[in-house]
């Protein structure tokens, strides 16, 4: 059973990297560099041309003093960075970002694990339900955020109507019904929306992962008399690890970079009380473009650190995935 997972490409790769003595005599190192190029070259070119240059521009911008109108009035040295890092709002924003990412990603991964399991079962109408799950993924996040904001309208939002009927909301046009005006309730709802739009994609990633688990393993487990939970823990979860890991990393980056939800629902306000670091970076553009670029770099660094930390922790998973 373990052979399937740990043997394979890792060993295959190794044998093939050491060429038989006769074949490659000249410039083995050059060949070693050139060999991958036909395969990964196009990717490098595409990324290099399209993505790298704007990144360079962004780095340059972060050292310039650029007004809110876009006019460059000279070098700013490190002042943009010090301005950003000394901003009184920053600690709160960073804390909020941590909470935002942790809660949204955590909830998404957990819920998606459950849903993937559920939608992997056979039941009538499964195709239709799987299709329904796609809706939040297919619709633009901006529009989903807008309709949620609409449904949370203090005067006539559908969610408020429902909650009023359930006796949870006591009156319309009250501070209680103005969910998005209060930073705490606004964050809570925005977290709900973020999970709502992240779950479909993640569920499908996990579902596809479940599909690659051979049925014989479950057969064998059943024959051995393993319980449902044991089967899940011992077979499903470990084999799901690559897919889970991918979903996790992608969600970490996406949620950290998440923009439309908060922007459409509260614009990060009042003030900066519902801003995450991405929203803050965008808000800074209206005040000082150079500082905004500096904040982008700070964000970039943060995500790099988080993702690298995850990669380290899951090196074993990476090796298995090879």
């Amino acid at each position: 059973m373990s052979n399937i997972v740990t043997a394979g490409p890792a060993t295959a790769g190794r044998t093939q990297d050491q060429p038989p003595g006769r074949r490659q005599r000249k410039y083995p190192r050059v060949r070693a560099i050139l060999a991958p190029l036909p395969w990964i070259g196009p990717a490098i070119v595409l990324i290099g041309l399209v993505v790298i240059w704007p990144i360079v521009v962004m780095f340059q911008t972060s050292f310039q003093n650029i007004t809110a109108d876009g006019i460059n009035i000279g070098s700013a040295g490190w002042r943009n960075f010090s301005g950003v890092l000394n901003n009184a709002n920053l600690p709160g924003i960073l804390l909020r970002t941590v909470i935002w990412v942790a809660v949204v990603v955590g909830a998404t991964m957990l819920i998606s694990l459950g849903l993937a399991q559920l939608f992997n079962q056979r039941f009538p109408g499964r195709t239709v339900v799987r299709w329904a799950l796609i809706a939040p993924w297919a619709a633009s996040v901006m529009m989903t955020a807008l309709i949620f904001r609409w449904m949370l309208d203090p005067n006539n939002g559908a969610i408020n109507i429902l909650l009023h009927q359930l006796g949870i909301v006591h009156g319309f046009n009250t501070n209680q019904s103005a969910w998005l005006a209060n930073p705490d309730s606004a964050m809570a709802w925005m977290i709900v929306v973020a999970v709502f739009v992240s779950v479909p994609f993640t569920t499908y990633v996990l579902l596809a992962g479940l599909q690659t688990i051979p049925g014989e393993l479950y057969e064998a487990a059943r024959v051995d008399g393993a319980s449902l939970w044991e089967t899940y823990r011992r077979i499903t979860l470990p084999l799901l690890r690559p897919a889970f890991f991918i979903g996790l990393v992608i969600n970490l980056m996406n949620v950290f970079n998440s923009f439309p939800i908060i922007w459409e629902m509260t614009q990060g306000g009042p003030g900066y009380e519902t801003s995450t670091s991405t929203i803050f970076m965008y808000n800074l553009k209206a005040i000082n473009v150079g500082q905004s670029a500096a904040m982008s770099i700070v964000n970039f660094a943060i995500v790099l650190v988080i993702v690298f930390a995850f990669l380290r922790m899951n090196r074993r998973t990476l090796q298995e995935a090879r």
Binding site: R29, I66, I73, T174, N175, S177, A181, G269, A286
Partner: protein
């Protein structure tokens, strides 16, 4: 492995740099591709804001194209290439243009001082003829000055007034609109208790907090500038004003969450008969007509309430046209602007979008065509605009983002922070 990678990275970086260096030299200033100089044909690039929305209004691109086509007939040598973007996206798009030094010949919708401070635009005298210049409403022209010289040309304007729902007023037992803050508050309370609707719609959210705040500042003898013309945002009067608004919002007579409410939504609610009073401009009229919930006779328009009496000075905004020097087409720009500022186009534009003309003759004709806007037009002569400062954009954006916090936080510290930015932010 690392050294190999570094080598590869260095090579590709060098290649990229070479490519970058190669092409950047050919795109110095100038958005004027295809504009031959001397007596040949000239193409002017016009970038503006789109004032329309969906099916209810015609796109401003259509408007400018009509002007451009008619203009081209008169001056076949000059082509005007038009591009607009809606107001939500306008700041970002303009910023991208400016940052990349892709200056349009004519930019509609931005204020002049930031560009004038960097010597990027023509003075007004170079881009319109004397007759057009003298036809402009002097009040607005004065607002475009930077260091004593006028740089922009006001294109369209708008003033504010207080709109109220007459039917709701009578239902609440109120016979006339409020003129003081105290009356406003009690009227709002009466509307709430007798009709269950929101009494006064207060938009301190990020859409137009700077406008609403100014209306209230003016009501207490304050404003953004001191009498000497420097920023005085956290003056004692202004702080008192915001403290009043804080208690007004807390009393429950405004909509909930006033600190995050936006004017667009409140106007929508007002037009549907769900709010009693809101500060408005002429543009609310077609919205009310479209909704069909509040009849024209029930739409009351009056002066905005000040602390001790109605405002004699209201907020008068104007969207300006500026012309960038980079293309060097001052002569052609002048021909075009003189053409565009004729009454026929001013009337067409402002009738389309329910704004007010920026020319005196235009205003006269417009007032005759649209008597329902009379209150707004009388406000023009005494209107106050936003500060004509090079760093106003920065200050304005901070106001938009943070002013709403006065509703729940400390007005003095919020206004203080804005004042801090205003006095220290460079242009």
């Amino acid at each position: 492995m690392k050294s190999r990678l570094m080598a590869a990275a260095a090579v590709s970086a060098a290649a990229l740099a070479a490519v970058a260096g190669c092409s950047s030299s050919s795109s110095t200033t100038g958005s004027n591709s295809g504009s031959g100089s001397s007596s040949g044909s000239v193409t002017l690039h016009l970038f503006g804001a789109d004032y329309g929305a969906g099916t209810t209004n015609v796109s401003t691109t259509t408007f400018w194209n009509q002007v451009a086509t008619a203009f081209h007939k008169k001056y076949p040598n000059i082509t005007v290439d038009v591009s607009t973007v809606n107001w939500n996206a306008y700041p970002d798009k303009v910023k991208a243009l400016i940052q990349n030094q892709q200056y349009p010949d004519i930019l509609e919708g931005s204020a002049a001082p930031p560009y004038a401070a960097e010597n990027l635009i023509y003075p007004t005298s170079q881009i319109i003829s004397q007759s057009t210049l003298s036809n402009l409403v002097p009040k607005f022209l004065n607002d475009t000055q930077y260091n004593g010289t006028a740089y922009g040309v006001p294109w369209t304007t708008s003033t504010r007034a207080l709109c109220y729902n007459k039917a709701m007023f009578s239902k609440a037992g109120l016979s006339s609109p409020p003129t003081t803050w105290a009356q406003l508050q009690s009227d709002a309370a009466a509307i709430k208790s007798k009709t269950g609707n929101v009494g006064f719609g207060l938009p301190l959210g990020s859409e137009e907090a700077q406008a609403e705040s100014l209306l209230w500042f003016l009501g207490n003898g304050g404003g953004y500038l001191s009498s000497s013309g420097s920023y005085d945002i956290n003056s004692a009067q202004n702080i008192a004003t915001m403290n009043f608004l804080k208690s007004f919002a807390a009393s429950g007579d405004t909509e909930p969450g006033a600190g995050s409410a936006n004017r667009t939504d409140l106007w929508n609610s007002f037009a549907e008969g769900k709010i009693g009073m809101v500060n408005c401009s002429p543009a609310i009229v077609p919205i009310v007509k479209l909704k069909g919930a509040v009849s024209t006779s029930d739409l009351g328009v009056t002066a905005i309430a000040g602390k001790n009496g109605p405002l004699t000075q209201t907020l008068g905004v104007h969207d300006d046209i500026v012309a960038f020097k980079s293309g060097g087409h001052a002569a052609q720009i002048k021909l075009f602007l003189d053409f565009a500022y004729q009454d026929q186009w001013q009337l067409a534009f402002n009738n389309d979008y329910d704004l007010l003309p920026a020319t005196q003759s235009g205003d006269q004709a417009f007032g005759q065509q649209n008597p329902v806007f009379s209150q707004y037009m009388t406000n023009i002569a005494n209107s106050v605009n936003y500060p004509a400062k090079a760093n106003w954009t920065t200050v304005e954006n901070q106001i938009k983002q943070t002013m709403g916090q006065v509703v729940t936080g400390s007005p003095s510290s919020i206004l203080g922070a804005i004042q801090q930015t205003a006095s220290t932010a460079s242009s």
